[in-house]
């Protein structure tokens, strides 16, 4: 039988999700931004990324950061000579910058896909399209992420 005091202490500890505890790191924002830049460099190398041709769709205000519908579509004739090779999605505030890489094969239809992603915080999400001619194009979308009113970690 837990005392009220014990219950309070345990509740307070449980109420802070792991991400929030990690956010006690004073360099967190800077570290994650740096990781985003590193991931970006890994994808595009030294090539400049142009804005345009890519449309990243995310709801501006979402119900729950655990599952956010995301879709990307790229303007492209999708021919042998001129097509999208891959679409990369990155974030700046998640624990890891990479979200998904969608590589298109010879049987791909439109240069587009949809999925659902986890977003740790209000942030800008970036989609980068890698073209067959070696060029890179991108789009960004801002999303507001709020936490649920009643967190119940560990309780089933």
């Amino acid at each position: 039988m837990t005392t009220r005091r014990q219950f309070l202490i345990v509740s307070a500890a449980l109420a802070a999700p792991a991400a929030a505890r990690a956010q006690l790191d004073p360099n967190l924002a800077a570290n994650r931004k740096a990781a985003f830049q590193a991931a970006l460099k890994r994808i595009v190398g030294d090539t400049k990324v142009a804005r345009g041709r890519v449309k990243l769709t995310l709801p501006p205000l979402i119900d729950n950061g655990n599952s956010v519908p995301l879709s990307v579509s790229v303007e492209s004739p999708m021919t042998e000579a001129d097509h999208v090779k891959a679409i990369h999605v990155l974030t700046e505030k998640n624990p890891l910058p990479d979200v998904i890489t969608f590589a298109l094969g010879p049987r791909a239809g439109r240069a587009s896909f949809a999925t659902r992603v986890r977003l740790a915080d209000t942030q800008t999400v970036t989609a980068i399209a890698q073209m067959s001619d070696g060029s890179f194009w991108s789009d960004g979308a801002e999303v507001v992420v709020t936490l649920s009113a009643c967190l119940e970690e560990g309780l089933i």
Binding site: A12, A15, P59, L147, A149, C150
Partner: protein
């Protein structure tokens, strides 16, 4: 649960506790209070994660179980026919046990009585799958738990729980879900709290879960004693909530934030 949350809550409360029931015509499913994007996840079976459990349930329905070597199908045949409307009238009175059982308890009772099989644990993948499959057969049908002399005492017990202030935050379910639905609580919209889509795929859980699980989460949130899954208190409350939602359509498998 933070101090900020507790203060926010304190600001919301009216001076006197008023708990008028929501007029029947003003009732809204939690579906209507979600963003269009989340609604779309529920709308299509192809994108609704609940579909995965419904398919599991379909497989389990046909699977022989227990020392009696029977499957659900052996007694109940095609669920699409036999289970139509069933979930809509649960929790239902069980004469053998002298009280209403919810769907999970009914499934386990069948396992014990007719399959001689051990019960599935609450919130187990198997029990949720079967419950999702059965409840899915009531999709689109109006909620209609049977209230008569046998079930009325349990309904009243559930009603009393719904209106009782409890926990450290001294809140009743009614204060938020009858009096302040539609308003915001720390970024989330307060729903009316109707069990229209259970078992639901809750984005917060990233999993399918029962009404019992959700109610335990609510109790935890207001810092009240959390009732055990399958306890009388919880099942009576489920009966009250289904009665409160009478006439509203079943949406199983629902998706909720």
């Amino acid at each position: 649960m933070s101090l900020r949350f507790a203060l926010l809550l304190a600001c919301l409360l009216p001076g006197a506790a008023s708990s008028g029931d929501i007029p029947l015509s003003e009732r809204r499913s939690g579906y209507e209070m979600m963003s269009r994007e989340t609604q779309k996840i529920q709308d299509e079976d192809a994108t609704n994660p609940g579909t995965l459990w419904v398919l599991d349930g379909e497989a389990l329905w046909a699977k022989k179980s227990g020392s009696a070597g029977k499957s659900c199908a052996d007694c109940h045949g095609d669920a699409r026919q036999s289970m139509k409307g069933v979930a809509a009238r649960y929790p239902a009175f069980d004469p053998a046990r002298g009280r209403p059982l919810n769907l999970e308890q009914r499934i386990n009772a069948c396992r014990a009585d007719h399959q001689t099989a051990p019960p599935f644990a609450y919130e187990s993948k198997e029990l949720l799958a079967l419950e999702a499959y059965v409840a899915r057969q009531s999709r689109g049908l109006p909620i209609a738990p049977r209230i008569d002399t046998k079930t009325k005492p349990f309904l009243e017990a559930g009603r009393e729980t719904f209106h009782r202030r409890q926990g450290q935050l001294n809140l009743s379910c009614s204060q938020c879900h009858d009096d302040h639905w539609g308003k915001k609580l720390a970024g989330s919209v307060i729903p009316q709290g109707h069990p229209t889509g259970y078992p639901i795929y809750r984005l917060e859980w990233q999993n399918l879960g029962s009404l019992g699980r959700r109610l335990r989460g609510c109790a935890f949130g207001i810092r009240a004693q959390v009732p055990e899954l399958g306890s009388d208190e919880l099942v009576d409350l489920e009966l009250y909530l289904m009665w409160r939602a009478r006439g509203m359509k079943i949406e199983t498998p629902g998706v909720r934030p």
